[in-house]
C-alpha cells in the first residue's frame, strides 16, 4: 500500500511540474551580452603629437546655420578646448560602495572636532519652534494672507496651500513636541535609529544617514544615502545651516549660480550684477576659497580630482526668484572632476541616471559629481554623488575621429534632432560658446549597471534663445554655460544621450 501511495504522489507531482516545460531550440538567436564589450575600439600609438593636432581641432570654431523655414538657427562661436596630451585611453570605472571607511573619511575631513548627533532626533521641531511658526501663520491669516508661501493655485483653481489645515496640524504637534532639541551623540554610520514620534517604536534606517553636526558655533546637516529601489545611489550632502540669513517663512533658501545674473548675460532677470560686485561681496579671495576647497577634496582621497570649473554663487531666500533684496550671501562654487593622465572628465549640469521611459525596470547609475561651496564662513555646502572607482585601461591610445567629421555630425544631428520644434516655437537660436573634448562615462545598464567605461567625447556647450508661439521668450546667451546640447563619442562619432549614459 505504501508503495502505491508513493507512486501515486510522484505521478501527481510529475503531471503538475511538466506544465512548466517547453521545447528547447538547437541554436540561440540571442546570447547574454559580454559585459566587457561595451565598447570595442581600435588602439593606436602614442606618437607624441598633441591630440589637437592629431584631430585637426582649431582653437576656435565659428559657424552659423539657419534652417530653411527660418525657425532654427545654430550659432556656433566657440572656444575649442582640447586637453594638452598626445594620447587618450578608455578607462574602466565602477561604482564605489558607501563603506564605513569612506564615510569616516568624509566625517573627519569636514567635521574634525565637531560633535555629531542623530539628525532624526535633533531635527524634530521643538515646542518653541512650532509655536513660532504657528504665530506666524495665524498672523498671516489675520492679515488675510492665506498663502504665505506663495504656493498658488492648483489645476482646478483651488488654493494649493491649506493654511487652516496647517494651523490645526501644528497645534496638534505642539502638544507632543519636545521642549528642547534631543541630542543623541553618534558616529555617522548606517543603521542609526530613526525617530518616529514619542509613543512609537523607533526603526533603524539602513540606507540613509542623517546627522546634525555642531562645530565652531556652527550647525551642519550631514546626510549620506545609498541604493534605493529605483536607482543605485551613493549621495553625500553637507550643508551649513546658515541661520544668520535663512528665512524659514519662505519656500526657497538656497545657493544659485551667479552667471545668469551677470550684466553681460542677456538673460531676463530681476537682478543684474557685475563680477566686481560679486568679488567684493564674497569677502574671501578666490585663491583662499580654492585652497580651502582643494584641501577638503584632497583629504577625501578621490584619485585625480581637480577643479574643472567654478562660479560665483548667491544665497537667496524667497518665493519668487532672485531679486536685489533677497540675496543674503555670496560664495564660490567649485566643481571637481577626475583627470586621468591629463585627460579630464567633462563636467555638465546633466547628472544622468535617467531611464528610457516610465515603465522601465532598469536601475540606472548617475554620473560622479563633486561640488563644494566656500564662503567667508568656510564650507557652506558639499555634494558628492556616485563616486567612481577608477579601474584599468580598456583600450590604450584610442584612435580619435577628425574634428571636421565630428563637427559635421554635430551640425547635421542638431538639425535633425530639432526638426520638430516648429510645432511649438516660432524661433529657436542655439548659442554654442564652448566645444570641449573630455571624458564621459558610458555604460550598458541592461548588462551591468555598476560598471562602465570612460570614453573621450566632444561636448557642445551653450545657451538657447527660444520664442514660443504663445509669446513666451526665454533667453540664455550661453556664456560660461554648463549645459551640453550634444555629446559625440570622439572615437566612433555616435551620439551619446547624457541623461541615459549611452
Amino acid at each position: 500500500m505504501k508503495k502505491r501511495i508513493t507512486v501515486a504522489i510522484i505521478t501527481g507531482l510529475i503531471v503538475g511540474l511538466l506544465s512548466g516545460c517547453e521545447k528547447t531550440p538547437d541554436k540561440s538567436i540571442i546570447t547574454e551580452k559580454n559585459k566587457d564589450n561595451i565598447s570595442n575600439y581600435e588602439s593606436g600609438k602614442d606618437t607624441g603629437t598633441p591630440i589637437r593636432e592629431l584631430v585637426n581641432a582649431p582653437e576656435h570654431y565659428e559657424n552659423k546655420f539657419t534652417s530653411k523655414d527660418g525657425v532654427l538657427t545654430i550659432d556656433t562661436d566657440a572656444e575649442v578646448i582640447v586637453p594638452e596630451v598626445s594620447a587618450v585611453d578608455t578607462i574602466k570605472v565602477s561604482t564605489k560602495d558607501p563603506d564605513q571607511e569612506f564615510i569616516d573619511t568624509i566625517t573627519n575631513t569636514f567635521f574634525e572636532g565637531g560633535k555629531c548627533y542623530n539628525g532624526s532626533f535633533y531635527n524634530v521641531p521643538t515646542k518653541s519652534e512650532l509655536e513660532e511658526k504657528l504665530t506666524y501663520l495665524k498672523k498671516c491669516k489675520a492679515e488675510g494672507n492665506m498663502d504665505p508661501y506663495d504656493y498658488g493655485l492648483d489645476s482646478d483653481g483651488n488654493a494649493s496651500y491649506n493654511i487652516d489645515a496647517t494651523i490645526s496640524a501644528l497645534e496638534e504637534s505642539i502638544s507632543n513636541a519636545p521642549e528642547s532639541v534631543e541630542k543623541k551623540e553618534v558616529i555617522p554610520a548606517f543603521d542609526l535609529p530613526e525617530y518616529y514620534g514619542e509613543d512609537e517604536k523607533n526603526d533603524i534606517n539602513k540606507d540613509y544617514i542623517s546627522v546634525a553636526v555642531e562645530m565652531d558655533d556652527d550647525l551642519y546637516s550631514y546626510t549620506v544615502q545609498r541604493d534605493s529601489d529605483f536607482m543605485q545611489l551613493f549621495q553625500v550632502e553637507i550643508k551649513r545651516e546658515n541661520n544668520e540669513y535663512r528665512d524659514d517663512t519662505v519656500e526657497m533658501n538656497e545657493w544659485i549660480g551667479a552667471r545668469y545674473f551677470l550684466e553681460d548675460n542677456e538673460t531676463d532677470n530681476d537682478l543684474y550684477i557685475t563680477e566686481d560686485q560679486l568679488k567684493a561681496n564674497t569677502n574671501i579671495s578666490y585663491e583662499d576659497a580654492k585652497m580651502l576647497a582643494d584641501s577638503k577634496i584632497q583629504s577625501l582621497g578621490l584619485e585625480g580630482m581637480g577643479i574643472v570649473d567654478w562660479d560665483y554663487v548667491m544665497f537667496y531666500t524667497g518665493n519668487n526668484g532672485v531679486t536685489a533684496d533677497n540675496v543674503k550671501a555670496y560664495a564660490y562654487q567649485f566643481q571637481y572632476t577626475r583627470t586621468i593622465s591629463g585627460f579630464p572628465i567633462t563636467y555638465t549640469m546633466n547628472y544622468g541616471g535617467c531611464v528610457e521611459d516610465m515603465e522601465s525596470t532598469t536601475v540606472p547609475w548617475g554620473y560622479e559629481v563633486c561640488d563644494i561651496i566656500v564662503s567667508k564662513n568656510g564650507v557652506e555646502q558639499f555634494t558628492l554623488l556616485d563616486p567612481y572607482i577608477i579601474g584599468d585601461v580598456q583600450t590604450e591610445n584610442v584612435k580619435l575621429m577628425n574634428f571636421d567629421e565630428i563637427v559635421s555630425i554635430y551640425e547635421e544631428m542638431m538639425e535633425i534632432s530639432n526638426s520638430s520644434i516648429g510645432e511649438y516655437e516660432s524661433k529657436r537660436i542655439y548659442y554654442i560658446t564652448r566645444i570641449k573634448l573630455g571624458y564621459t562615462r558610458i555604460y550598458d545598464p541592461k548588462s551591468d549597471n555598476k560598471s562602465g567605461v570612460l570614453v573621450p567625447v566632444w561636448d557642445f556647450f551653450g545657451g538657447i534663445h527660444a520664442e514660443s508661439k504663445d509669446g513666451y521668450i526665454s533667453n540664455d546667451n550661453g556664456i560660461d554655460s554648463q549645459q551640453s546640447f550634444m555629446t559625440i563619442n570622439a572615437v566612433d562619432g555616435t551620439i551619446i544621450d547624457r541623461g541615459l549614459g549611452y
Binding site: 504522489i9 507531482l13 506544465s19 546570447t31 547574454e32 528610457e356
Partner: protein
C-alpha cells in the same frame, strides 16, 4: 490497516491525482494562452513602432549626403525615438544601437527569416520560431530566463539602406507565476486530500458501524439457531432411527413419535420466531405507527391468551387503564410483545396465580407472580436464546427468544424494555414508550 482506512486512503489518493492532473492541465493551458496573448500584443506594438520608425526615416528622406557616421547617427536617432525598450539596430553586421541585455546573431536571424519565407507554414511544434507577417518570432531559454525575440529587416531609400531590427521580451515572470500556481495547487490538493481522508474515514465508519452491529447480531442469531436446531434434530434423528431399526413396543413407538411431533412443533415455532426476529432487525423494517387505544389493545391480548391462561389456571387481570389512553404504536408488534410477556409469566408462574397488565402515559407493564429472575441473570435475559434454567425451559418449549423479541420491538418503537424481578415474588416487565 483497517478496511475503512484503506478505502478512505484510496479515495483520497484518487482525488489527489485527479485534482493534480486537472489543475496541471488548466494551469498549462492558461499559461500558453497568456503567452500567446502577450506575444501577439508585443508583435503589434513592435510593428507599430517600426512603422513609425520607417515613416520618420522616409519622411526625412535619406539622401546621398547622409553617409557614414552621419547616416548611422541619423538612423540611430530616429530609431531611439521610435523603438521599444530592449531593442537593437544593426546595419550589415554592425551593431548601431542596442539597449537590450543581449547580443543578436544577425546571420542566424536572416537564416530564420529566409526559412520562414520559404515555408509558408511553420509547425510551431517542431520549431521554436514563427513568422507573423514579416516578423520572425523566436522563443528561447537563456539561463533561467524565457525570452521572446522579434526580428525583422527593413530597407530604406529603395533598398540602399538595409537595417535589421530586433526586440526582446522577457516572459520569465509568466513561467514563474505558472510554477507558483502549480505549487499552490499541489499544496491545496495535499491538504484537501488529507482532510478528505479524515472525513471519509469518519463517514465510512459511521455507515459501517450499524452494519457491523447487524452483522454481529445476525452472527449471534445464526449461532443461536444452529445451537437450538442441533438439539431437537439430534433427538428427532435418534427417535426416528430407533423406530426404524429397533423393535420397540407400540407404546414406546407412540412415545417416540409423540416426542418427534413435539420437537417438530417447537422447531416450527422457532423458525417462525426467527423469521420474525430477522424482520425486526432489518434496517428497512417498517414500523406502522398508528394511534392505538391501549385498553382496547390489552383486551385483544387477553382474548388471545384466554386459552393459554385457562390451561394453566392463571388469571389475567387488567388494572386501571384509562379508557381514553392512546399512543402511536405498531399494533401488531405491541400485541406480540404483550403476548410474549404474558407467556413468559405463564411459564414461570404456578397455577392459581395472577398476571397483571397495567398502562399509563409513559409505559405498559406486565407483572407476574412467578418465581422471578435471579439478579445476576437480569443482564442476560434479553439476549437471544438465553435461558435461565436450560433444562426446564427446553422441556416447556421455551427457546429463549421471547424477551429478545420484546426488547427489539421496544427498540423499533424507540422505547426501552425494563425488567424488575425478585426471586420468589415475581417479575415486572415494563415497555416504556
Amino acid at each position: 490497516m483497517k478496511l475503512v482506512t484503506k478505502i478512505a486512503m484510496t479515495a483520497s489518493i484518487l482525488f489527489f491525482l485527479l485534482t493534480q492532473a486537472f489543475s496541471a492541465y488548466i494551469i498549462f493551458d492558461c499559461q500558453q494562452k497568456k503567452i500567446e496573448m502577450v506575444k501577439t500584443s508585443e508583435i503589434k506594438l513592435f510593428q507599430n513602432k517600426m512603422q513609425s520608425f520607417y515613416h520618420d526615416v522616409n519622411e526625412n528622406t535619406i539622401n546621398d549626403m547622409y553617409t557614414g557616421n552621419i547616416l548611422n547617427n541619423y538612423i540611430i536617432y530616429l530609431f531611439r525615438n521610435n523603438t521599444l525598450n530592449n531593442s537593437g539596430l544593426y546595419m550589415d553586421d554592425n551593431c548601431l544601437f542596442n539597449n537590450s541585455p543581449y547580443d543578436f546573431d544577425i546571420s542566424y536571424g536572416e537564416e530564420l527569416l529566409g526559412i520562414s519565407r520559404d515555408q509558408n507554414s511553420i509547425d510551431p511544434k517542431k520549431s521554436n520560431f514563427e513568422l507573423y507577417e514579416d516578423v520572425v518570432v523566436v522563443e528561447q531559454k537563456i539561463d533561467d530566463k524565457h525570452i521572446f525575440t522579434f526580428f525583422k529587416t527593413m530597407d530604406f531609400n529603395r533598398g540602399s539602406v538595409i537595417v535589421n531590427v530586433y526586440h526582446t521580451l522577457d516572459i520569465t515572470d509568466l513561467y514563474i507565476s505558472s510554477r507558483q500556481m502549480v505549487v499552490k495547487a499541489l499544496i491545496i490538493s495535499v491538504v484537501m486530500s488529507f482532510f478528505m481522508l479524515i472525513i471519509l474515514n469518519l463517514l465510512i465508519q459511521k455507515i459501517t458501524v450499524p452494519l457491523k452491529n447487524i452483522n454481529e447480531t445476525q452472527k449471534q442469531l445464526i449461532g443461536g439457531i444452529s445451537h437450538e436446531l442441533k438439539t431437537p434434530l439430534t433427538a428427532m434423528k435418534g427417535y426416528s432411527e430407533t423406530i426404524l431399526r429397533v423393535n420397540i413396543s407400540k407404546e414406546q413407538e407412540e412415545k417416540a413419535l409423540s416426542y418427534i411431533y413435539t420437537e417438530c412443533s417447537r422447531l416450527s415455532r422457532l423458525t417462525e420466531k426467527m423469521m420474525y426476529m430477522t424482520k425486526l432487525y432489518d434496517s428497512e423494517c417498517k414500523v406502522e405507527l398508528k394511534n392505538v387505544n391501549i385498553l382496547e389493545l390489552v383486551n385483544v391480548v387477553k382474548v388471545a391468551e384466554e386459552h393459554n391462561l385457562s390451561e394453566h389456571n392463571i388469571n389475567l387481570q387488567i388494572l386501571d387503564i384509562n379508557p381514553d389512553l392512546s399512543k402511536m404504536l405498531d399494533r401488531d408488534l405491541v400485541v406480540s410483545l404483550l403476548i410474549n410477556l404474558i407467556n413468559n409469566g405463564i411459564q414461570t408462574s404456578s397455577e392459581g396465580s395472577n398476571i397483571y397488565i397495567g398502562a399509563d402515559e409513559k409505559s405498559i407493564w406486565v407483572r407476574d407472580e412467578g418465581r422471578g429472575i435471579p439478579a445476576e441473570e437480569l443482564k442476560n435475559v434479553m439476549k437471544a436464546f438465553y435461558r435461565i434454567d436450560k433444562s426446564r425451559s427446553r422441556k416447556s418449549g421455551n427457546m429463549g427468544l421471547g424477551l429478545s423479541l420484546c426488547s427489539r420491538i421496544a427498540q423499533v418503537h424507540k422505547g426501552t424494555l425494563n425488567i424488575e424481578s425478585e426471586e420468589g415474588i415475581g417479575t415486572t416487565v415494563t415497555f416504556v414508550y
